[in-house]
């Protein structure tokens, strides 16, 4: 269970590092980093949404398409895990 959670978190971090181009900017993020402060703008949020859906084989319902879901890596992880658990 723990290793699955770690794997999910690591995948999310990887996607974020890629989308926010953190490696080029020599920045990194923590579980509570503000994604907006790291440069997550409207178009990048949509690209990230598509990344997450493709990577985890999920589709975020309207109820989860909120600014709150995309606020931090943790809020993203909570949303992703809830959908994976619902999938079974």
């Amino acid at each position: 269970m723990t290793s699955t959670r770690d794997a999910i978190r690591e995948q999310i971090f990887d996607l974020l590092r890629h989308r926010l181009r953190l490696r080029q900017r020599q920045q990194d993020l923590t579980i509570n980093s503000s994604l907006e402060a790291l440069g997550l703008d409207s178009m990048t949020a949509i690209e990230l949404l598509l990344d997450l859906e493709r990577t985890f084989g999920i589709m975020l319902p309207d109820a989860l398409l909120t600014a709150e879901t995309f606020r931090t890596p943790e809020t993203l992880e909570v949303a992703v895990r809830s959908l994976l658990e619902a999938k079974g």
């Binding site: 907006e36 409207s42 949509i46």
Partner: protein, 404 residues
């Protein structure tokens, strides 16, 4: 200067086009020079103050803006583009400028000074909404150090609106707009403009290195300025110019078809010729419809003082991109097919009465000017999330506080 209240500005544009633009368009292109005469005509007729509210009324709507742009472009695409782009900057100053920016509008009104846009930057791949070079606090002011590969009419503008990264510790999407004047003395033109077409726009590379007052920086985040004003004005203004250029070529061709000495007289009996002619008109009508509808939509938002969130509507973004994509393609195709219809002597030669050769070269820039591939890529992503709850993540406030 203020002729608008008495005379229909579209009629003024027709006058400028027929009396001045037409006379000089070929020379401007041949000598790769700025269209001084045409811009002076615009100045004299008071057309450089479009979008500025006038004491005794007069249109400031997008529909009229597009009509003027098309009329001017029928005679000279370069001059029309200069007018349209200058007006985009005027609109930004009117909509979003503070008291410290007002003197620019006074100068535009008093002397017809031109305002240019600086948004291009090496290495950022043509993305309007990002900027790399940061504003750097220096003493009481801010250092503006910026390299811009393409700045239209930079050699002749008195004022410039530059996109800059808000600060060194901010990310590339945190963009501010700053006003810089020629009198700040720190602008260097570093190269030439020697292009296939749109030669009169003199879109030269420029370097800026100067120190300005903090109050030159617009308080609103650039994204808001772009979404509310610049993007609608740019997409619709350019599209109207391209449409006008194609329409002008088409009208010139049709006008002479029934004249006795016309070389195409025999072909007027040919159904093939007539249906090819008619087919071109389909493309013209398509452009007209898209531009008109989008302009009406923007005018409706502006008239109701809609907040910036309304302009962030995904469907609106997609359609504004599509007006540009469609017009850039269709305008060029119309002139390309018109040349095919005309044949070598009328279509392929320089400096004929139809001027197709120059307009063809001018319009080839349309798909490249803010490359359609970039817009199509963005639209592809937007289409995937259109009409879903994604509006909430798209439209969310940037969290960027206005500068105090």
């Amino acid at each position: 200067m203020d002729a608008f209240s008495e005379i229909d500005p579209i009629q003024l544009a027709v006058t400028a086009g027929q009396e001045t633009f037409r006379a000089w368009a070929s020379d401007v292109d041949a000598r790769n020079r700025f269209p001084h005469e045409s811009v002076e005509a615009l100045r004299r007729l008071g057309l450089l103050t479009y979008f500025m509210p006038r004491a005794n009324g007069g249109p400031t709507d997008f529909a009229t803006y597009c009509s003027i742009a098309a009329v001017l472009a029928e005679e000279c695409l370069s001059s029309a583009l200069i007018w349209a782009m200058h007006c985009q900057q005027v609109a930004i100053l009117v909509d979003h400028g503070g008291p410290e920016h007002k003197h620019v509008l006074d100068e535009v009104e008093r002397t017809g000074a031109l305002v240019a846009s600086v948004t291009t930057e090496a290495g950022k791949g043509g993305d309007l909404l990002t900027a790399r070079a940061p504003l750097l606090p220096e003493g009481d002011g801010v250092r503006v150090r910026r390299v811009a590969p393409i700045v239209s009419y930079a050699e002749y503008a008195a004022f410039f609106l530059l996109t800059m990264r808000s600060a060194e510790d901010r990310h590339e999407h945190d963009v501010s707009l700053v006003l810089v004047t020629r009198e700040d003395a720190g602008m260097t033109v570093t190269g030439n403009w020697n292009a296939m077409g749109a030669r009169g726009t003199r879109s030269v590379p420029v370097t800026f290195d100067l120190l300005v007052d903090n109050n030159r920086v617009f308080k609103k985040p650039f994204r808001q300025i772009a979404v509310q004003t610049l993007i609608p004005a740019a997409h619709l203004g350019w599209s109207a110019v391209w449409y006008g250029a194609a329409r002008g070529a088409f009208r010139r061709f049709v006008r002479q078809l029934r004249q006795p000495e016309n070389k195409f007289r025999a072909q007027l009996q040919s159904d093939l010729f007539l249906s090819r002619l008619a087919d071109l008109r389909v493309s013209l009508d398509l452009m007209d419809s898209m531009i008109t509808r989008a302009a009406a939509r923007i005018d409706s938002l502006r008239h109701s003082n809609a907040d910036v969130a309304s302009y962030e509507n995904i469907t609106l973004h997609i359609s504004l991109n599509n007006v540009k994509i469609a017009a850039s393609r269709l305008a060029f195709e119309v002139v390309d097919r018109l040349i095919e219809l005309c044949g070598l002597a009328q279509g392929y030669m320089k400096n004929t009465a139809l001027d197709l050769e120059r307009v063809f070269r001018d319009l080839r820039s349309a798909t490249l000017m803010y490359h359609n591939d970039r817009l199509l890529g963005a639209n592809g992503k937007l289409i995937l999330v259109e009409n879903s709850g994604a509006e909430a993540i798209w439209r969310r406030p940037d969290g960027l506080q206005p500068k105090t």
